[in-house]
Structures are given as structure tokens and as C-alpha cells.
């Protein structure tokens, strides 16, 4: 395949960036999108040009490290991670525009790499169950209804990639946060901290500069794990139950 790539190049967080065009030939349609960028980088290095910086690690769709906006869509045209997107989803001769996640809480580090530590700080605020090592009762001490366990698992599939934020016109992180609140809130072990958790996480979310949710649903459409919008409903319900109605979480 022959492609025209337009890629966001930015030297560092404080520098201005710009779109740069690269023509590439000989791309296999069986290669992944990131393998196509690998090929571009090999060619750039050989010709003495700075390769394009982009993040990726597991390349099997589970670590959440990769993620770019492709032709305006977070992770591109398929509902999957960028690393699992394959070139057979494109046509020979296509022009492909590649940009980093764009959101204030995700500042650009270089080219397509962004800083997502704001997500870690939301988890630090309360996205956990306080159970010190060694303090646990037998795993069968508390049965969990299968439907609750299944819903918790569904929400826990979030990989923290940030596509939801990149897709949202408000740069809201509420799908990410809602999935954690739902994961832990569906389980009996998560009940003691349920109210405090949702309040603390929401405060941190707002402090980081993420926007509020206006129910557009772009986040769930971009989510490679298909986390449904109703985790945000659950987040809002938990927030109200915790006695903090009427704030940005609604």
C-alpha cells in the first residue's frame, strides 16, 4: 500500500507543533497501524530525519499505552486500540491524518506522546479498596452474585487509554471514572468506601481540568473496550447518594 501521512510533530511540551506530510510506500495490509509507523521511522532514521515519537507497549490491546487520533477518530475507524488496528482497514492511496490525544489534562510531551498521569491521580484519590496485604478473609467468605461480578468485570475492562477523553468535546474523564466507580461499587468488598470514593475521585477529576459530561456518548463509541455510557449514570447515582447532588458530576 502507498499512503500519504499527515502527522503532528512537536519537539517538546513548550514548543509549537505542526502537521508534517510523509509519503510512504510498501506497507503490508496485514501490518498493524503501529507497524506502519515503525516502517516510517525506519525510513526516517535511514534518511537522517528525527523519527516520530509515539507510545505503545503490549501491542495486543490491553496495556492502554498506545492511542492516537486517526482521521479525527480516537484509535481510528475500528472499535479497538491503535495497536490492534490493521492496515486492511485502509485503502491504497489513502491520506491519513495522525494527531495526539488533545485535551488540557493530557499535555503533549513530544509528537504523538501525551502525559496521562492525571488518570493516575484520579485513582490515587480513591480508585481502590483499602485492604492491606495479609488482612484478607477467605476468598469464599463473601459470595458475590454472578450478575454483580460480571458487571464489575465489564467495568474493570477499562484500560485507561484516554480515548474517551480525546473523543469528548468537553474532554470529560467521566467514562474512565465511571468504569472504576462501577467496578468497585458492584462488589461487596467495595461498599465501605463507596460514597467517599466517588466524591474524592470526582473532586480530583475536576481539579485536573477534565470537563463535565453532557451525555453525547462520543466516549463510549471511541472506547476500545466498549464500556457503556451507563457507568456514568452509576457514577452520578453514587454521587447523589453520597449527598453531593448538583455539582459538576451531574
Amino acid at each position: 500500500m502507498k499512503l500519504a501521512l499527515k502527522i503532528w510533530r512537536q519537539d517538546g511540551p513548550a514548543d509549537a507543533g505542526q502537521m508534517v506530510r510523509y509519503d510512504i510506500d510498501g506497507v503490508s495490509e496485514d501490518s498493524s497501524f503501529l507497524e506502519m509507523l515503525d516502517l516510517l521511522n525506519e525510513q526516517l532514521i535511514t534518511s537522517g530525519e528525527d523519527p516520530v515519537a509515539f507510545d505503545s507497549d503490549c501491542r495486543e490491546g490491553i496495556c492502554g499505552m498506545c492511542g492516537v487520533v486517526i482521521n479525527g477518530e480516537a484509535h481510528g475507524p475500528e472499535r479497538t486500540t491503535t495497536c490492534q488496528l490493521h492496515m486492511r482497514s485502509f485503502n491504497d492511496g489513502d491520506e491519513i491524518v495522525i494527531e495526539p490525544w488533545r485535551a488540557d489534562p493530557f499535555p503533549v510531551i513530544k509528537d504523538l506522546c501525551v502525559d496521562r498521569t492525571s488518570f493516575d491521580r484520579i485513582i490515587q484519590a480513591g480508585g481502590f479498596i483499602s485492604a492491606n496485604t495479609g488482612s484478607a478473609p477467605d476468598a469464599h467468605a463473601t459470595p458475590v452474585p454472578k450478575e454483580d461480578a460480571d458487571r464489575a468485570f465489564m467495568a474493570a475492562e477499562c484500560i485507561g487509554c484516554g480515548a474517551c477523553v480525546a473523543a469528548c468535546p468537553n474532554a470529560s474523564g467521566m467514562l474512565f471514572m465511571g468504569s472504576k466507580v462501577t467496578h468497585l461499587g458492584e462488589l461487596p468488598q467495595g461498599q465501605p468506601e463507596r460514597g467517599a470514593r466517588v466524591v474524592a475521585m470526582t473532586e480530583q477529576h475536576d481539579l485536573e481540568g477534565f470537563g463535565g459530561c453532557t451525555n453525547l456518548g462520543e466516549c463510549t463509541r471511541a472506547c476500545p473496550k466498549g464500556i457503556p455510557l451507563n457507568v456514568i449514570s452509576q457514577l452520578n447515582a453514587d454521587y447523589r447518594r453520597a449527598g453531593y447532588g448538583g455539582s459538576s458530576a451531574d
Binding site: 519537539d11 517538546g12 506497507v27 503490508s28 496485514d30 501490518s31 498493524s32 507497524e35 515503525d38 525506519e42 535511514t46 530525519e49 528525527d50 515519537a53 507497549d57 503490549c58 501491542r59 495486543e60 490491553i62 496495556c63 499505552m65 475500528e78 479497538t80 490492534q84 490493521h86 510531551i109 513530544k110 506522546c113 502525559d115 496521562r116 498521569t117 493516575d120 485513582i123 490515587q124 480508585g127 481502590f128 479498596i129 483499602s130 485492604a131 492491606n132 496485604t133 495479609g134 488482612s135 484478607a136 478473609p137 477467605d138 476468598a139 469464599h140 463473601t142 459470595p143 458475590v144 452474585p145 454472578k146 461480578a149 464489575a152 468485570f153 475492562e157 485507561g160 462488589l187 468488598q189
Partner: protein
Amino acid sequence: MTDTVTSTPELIDGVYREGAPIADSKAPGGDIAGKWTTRKFEAALVNPANRRKLSVIIVGTGLAGASAGATLGEAGYQVKSFCYQDSPRRAHSIAAQGGINAAKNYKGDGDSVHRLFYDTVKGGDYRSRETNVYRLAEVSADIIDQCVAQGVPFAREYGGLLDNRSFGGVQVSRTFYARGQTGQQLLIGAYQALERQIAAGTVEMYARHEMLELVVVDGKARGIIARDMVTGEIETHLADAVVLASGGYGNVFFLSTNAMGCNVTASWRAHRKGAYFGNPCYTQIHPTCIPQAGDHQSKLTLMSESLRNDGRIWVPKNAEDCDKDPREIGEDDRDYYLERIYPGFGNLVPRDIASRQAKNMCDEGRGVGPAVDGVRRGVYLDFADAIGRMGEDAVRSKYGNLFDMYERITGENPYQVPMRIYPAVHYTMGGLWVDYDLQSSIPGLFVTGEANFSDHGANRLGASALMQGLADGYFVLPNTIRDYLAKGPFTKISDDDPAVVEAQQTVTSRLEKLLSIDGTRTVDSYHKALGKVMWEKCGMERTEEGLREAIEEIRALKADFWSNVRVLGAADGLNQSLEKAGRVADFLELGELMCIDALHRRESCGGHFRAESQTEDGEALRHDDEYAYVAAWEWGGDDEAPVLHKEDLVYDFIELKQRSYK
């Protein structure tokens, strides 16, 4: 702790020397079932008020690193945690699919601590240390309790209790799982516990940092030199003890199931500073990966081994059927070769056997799928029977995400057409040598999880990596490292200590060197070339001749690398080529040591098959009289031969047998 080097002057096989044996792994005496209790009691305690004065550096945030960081933080130590990814949640433990073993015996099918111990020693082909493995089995049940308390959403039955399944190579159901994402769920549990400690102020997190050197002062590990991968700053971090939980080195093969960033640098830098490297040639080839499609490929993707519970593996009986649509090949023309050769275990034989037989079938010309370099390297994993028996919906609920992933990568629908699979490098049983306390041959340097060599012998059973990572991090290390830390307070080290300055200079001069070569070849091209040598000559099947060639080829590649590699850009900012260059330079040195280790071990054992050592019917032949030891390698110096220290493996509780799965 280690004997002084008294290596023989003469070279053995032209490539290594032999030093004094390792006399003692520091396990307590007594019956095997009481050793861990004894050790926990004898290990000194640290008063809670003193813990906050003691500091520990942990490199890596996978299961072994994140769990250790959380647990030591909860105990009140000052922890600094490092990872090269942008967040600790990305560590490659996250990609483990199938499950985690634990001797809970919830199914009442005869499981016990002793049986898990026995299965693990047997699965490791009698090349692991009894004492460590018993302890692993002993703490396994606690892991499940801990994870459930943290909110890990394991699969459950309708009654609300946890579900279990049986997993490659064993006949009891002791594997806990969370669909095909068990590693993800366990890691998120450990990550959340770690983040909780970061919020509490006991753990300081350094993401996008890479350890490039170990600081050893007066013979003790006292810190690391790390590079901030965003600013390029070279930072010195000092502490009272250092823990490496930096994972395995499967990426020495370039193509593996590891993440792109997985590397040996932390371990290798420690090795060069005196930490012995145990059994480097013990790598695991996983039988159920998606076959390579072409040269563009950057990694291989594992399909969970749990698929072997319901899928049937076959190739055409006749080579001329290999390019046919598999659905048009009749039952009589299919060879379900694992069920045929191993009727007792069938498709559930251990990984090494399943891998080697797949290779044999393809070598016979009965492989399927596209030919790469002229050979079809693939076998079918067929779910038609399972779909007929359970229905497509049941298969989807059990394996849906794996089937989806397969379709995304190959463009084929596995509900309709059999999957194609082929072995790929997946895990490294070798790693830094540690004693019973998980302490390396450098005092104060501890090694956990895949980075150490300890528990899996020459082959690892399915669902045991997650178990070991969490056992080490939650339950073993926190109990053994306190015995070391209790010797504190330790002498304060200043940033201008000669050992610190020397370590800093090693790092900066190496980075400068890499940037100044300005040759013509990219880092990746060297990595691919190294990987090809390793896979062909130090992979599933090895020969004396091939290994000798590999050693020469790697030496030549290394020399070429240091004179002709091209790394653009500068060291004072994000530079992914520079990061890769440092890792590949270390892989080149490791690759040579792996080949030397493989050359000296003239037996077929566990995950590796030595062509010169096989039975009449072509099965692996071990030599317990000669090789029942751990090969712990000491760094001999640049361009010097490494020094072998043998730790004899003594089996007091399990009888050594040739494995038979027939």
C-alpha cells in the same frame, strides 16, 4: 554470601570458566512444610517506628513490583517505585490471559499444597529448587484471598462462589481466572493498592524512568542511576536496598509475546556489577500464538493456553492437503497428533511438548497457513467440536475476547474456520540468581517475579507466572527483606561517593557513545538480526554446532553495532531510538551468555530440546547425573569468558523421574 571467585584458569569449551560451587541457598532446615514458617519466625523484625527511616527502591511495576511496593508501603517503609511506561498500570503482567493457580482445592478434586508443589517441580523438569517451589505453593491460596479483598473480579458461578478451571499440564482445577484478562485484573488490583500508597505518601512514583545502572557501595546494592525519559536527566536514587522486579528478557528474540519495551537492562546492569545470572538459556516457548504473517511484524500475539481445554489441535495427515480449506478436510484425513501421541493428556500436554510437536509437524511439511521463508509454520486449533457440544454462545462467553482478537489480527473468523497457531517465545524461566530470601549474589539486591530464576526450573506451568509474581511481591519479599533491613540504620551515602560518580559516568559515557557512532544501520535492524540468530539456534531445538555458530555471529553483530549503529537526536529529551539502542546493546551481551549456557547444558530439559540428547523415539532426554544443578553465571568482564558457579539441586521430598505424558 557468595564464594570468592576461584575460577579455573583454563577455558572450558573455549567460552567459559568454572568457579566455586554455590554451597548454600540459605533455606532453613527441617521438614519442607515447616521451612517457610521457620524462616518468617527467624527473620528479624523491624520496629514500625524505624520502618519510615528505611528506604527501598523497586524497579518495575508489574505484579511482582507493584505488589511489593504496595505491601512495603503499607508496612511503613519509604519506597521509590520506577517504571519505563507512562503509568505503573501498563506493565506487561497486564497481558497475561489465562489465569492464576492456587492450591485452594475449592473443587474438592484432590488438590493440595503438596500437589501444586509436586506439579510445579515436575513441570519444571526437576530443575527448580524444592524449597522455593514449596513456599510458592504454600502462599498461593493467600493470593486469591488478597485479590478478592481488593476487588479483583474473578469469574464466579451462579451460587456466587469462585469458578476454577484446569490449565495446561495438570489434572486438577486450580486455576482462578477473569475471562481471558486475568493478568489485567490482578495487575489493576496491585496498581490500585500501589496508587493508594502513593496517595498516602509511603511510595514515590517515577514513571517514564529507566534504570541504567546499579549503585554498589562497599559490596552492597545502595541505589540506581535512572534516566528520566522525558527530560533526559540522569538521576541518582539512593536507598538501603534495591529490588529488581523488571520482568523477563524474551525480547532478546525480537519477536516474542513480550511488550515492545520489555528489556533486560536492569538485570543486565546488575549482572555486570556482580549479580549472578541463573539458567539464562531457560526460555519458554508458548505453543498457542498467532503465526507470523510477514517481515513487518513487531511482535507475536499469544492466544491463551486455556483454549487448549476446548480446542483440538491437528494438521492434515497428507502434506498435499495443507493448502486446502480445512473445513473440506475429512476427519479421516486429519491428524490430531497430540491426542494420538499422548492419549493420557491429549491437547493438555505441557507447553514444551505441545510446542515441539507443532514444530515437528511443520518440519515434516504438514504445517498450514501462509509460508514465511518457504515453510508453512502453523497448526490448526479447531473449535468445531466444542461449538457442537456447548453451542456457539457458550464458546463465546468463555473465549469471546480471544476469538475477537484473533479475527482482528488475522482477518479470519475462528467460529467458522479453525484458528492457526504456532509456538512463540513467551517467558523466561532464567533470570538473576537468588537465594531462599530472593536476595541476589549482591547483598541488598533482591529480585522478584520473572526477573529472578527461582521457581519454574526448566519450564513453567501455565497460570504460574501470575502466582509467582504476586507470591514474591505480597508475601515472600516483605518477610525476607525485613531481615536485611533490620540490620539498619545503614551508612549514609552521599551523591559524590566515588561509587556513585563511577556509576553516573558509566551511564553518561555510554549514552554519548551511542549517539556519537553515527553509523548506517538502525537499532531495530540489529535487534531483528539478533532475534533471528537466537530463534534459529537457541530456540526450541538446539545443537552444539548451531550454538557455536550463534556465539560467533552474535559477537560479530555486537562489534558491528558498536561501530555502525545510527542513533539520531540528543540525550536531553524524549529519544526512543536512544532508549532502544541501550536495550539492544544489553540484549547482544545477554544473547551470547544464553548461547554459552545452552552450549554447556548438554541435555534436553524442560522448555528446550538438545538434539544430541534424545530417546530412541525422539523424546527429550535429561541427564540428572550431570546437570541437576542451577547454572549461576558470573560476569567475567568485557570480552572475557563468564564464570560458571553450580548450585546442586538436592531433591529430599520429590523423587526425580523422567517425565512421561504418554
